[in-house]
Symmetry: C2
Amino acid sequence: MNLPPLCEAFVQHFGEMGSRWGINRTVGQIYAVLFVAERPLCADDIVERLGISRSNVSMGLKELQAWNLLRQKSVPGDRREFFTTPDDIYAIVRTLVDERKKREIDPTLTVLRELLMRSPDSDPERNEQARMREMLELIELMTGWYSEVQKLE
Amino acid sequence: MNLPPLCEAFVQHFGEMGSRWGINRTVGQIYAVLFVAERPLCADDIVERLGISRSNVSMGLKELQAWNLLRQKSVPGDRREFFTTPDDIYAIVRTLVDERKKREIDPTLTVLRELLMRSPDSDPERNEQARMREMLELIELMTGWYSEVQKLE
DNA sequence: CCTAAATTTCAGAAATTCCTGAAAGTACCG
DNA sequence: CGGTACTTTCAGGAATTTCTGAAATTTAGG
């Protein structure tokens, strides 16, 4: 890793946290590098700083874009793409929360609705159903609040 | 898997979500089984319902306990341990959020404080430092709010 | 079109995580 | 104690995820 000491420690930490955050080590490190960089970086800058393969960087950037966590800058007369994280950290956090909701909550909401929709009340699994319905209602309540809060912003 | 169809679908879904939630498939499935069960279950009940090895269940239960997500019941005259999820789903969610904060946020808070503490302001990495400080301040703000809300409950 | 710079894809190697059966541990009872 | 019913630990095999280099694809000039 080819970074000054403070940055290196920061990047290492984000790598380790990456796994706990459902992204992998490399993706976490790429984000950390972009986050502290004082100018937009291109893929090869990241290769150089992290000492990982070019293709790995490409995949990592793709994943971060799928998470909506990057801004793309192009420099006129330069064919390469440059990337930054949004300047406003609060915006980053909002995006993170949104995306996690999309991946971690919404699918469950959908599945619970479907399951409960198509099973009759007279089911032999009546009790289990009640428990699932309870869960569904709590999730609906909480996502409802969340989308209210989102509107206010 | 030895479960009635609605439950099986529910359990399968929680297995798949498990990975997105930082626990693994089996642990997710174990929790789902306990969640819908209408009585406390012992380890062998879970083995039977999920068709996985006894030792895997043991490890899964241990992990769920580390997450504080189980209640333990003992039946007098029976040597086995029985487990349930808390009845109050809202309590489950609170625990989940607490534990995730503990694993996903608090370590970062600690590391950032340490890093920024020991590097002088005159550092050549002044710019990167500023960005890290910004992040630290936002996390402090947010965890501060969170502990206020916690007190109210 | 053709070339060259840059990016993406992807098969399989490397690393990591998960799962199992066997063995060891624990606790209770007679 | 010795036996029994249950639980935990753990080495190593199975499965999954991550990473790489080589090849394919895209893009912008000339």
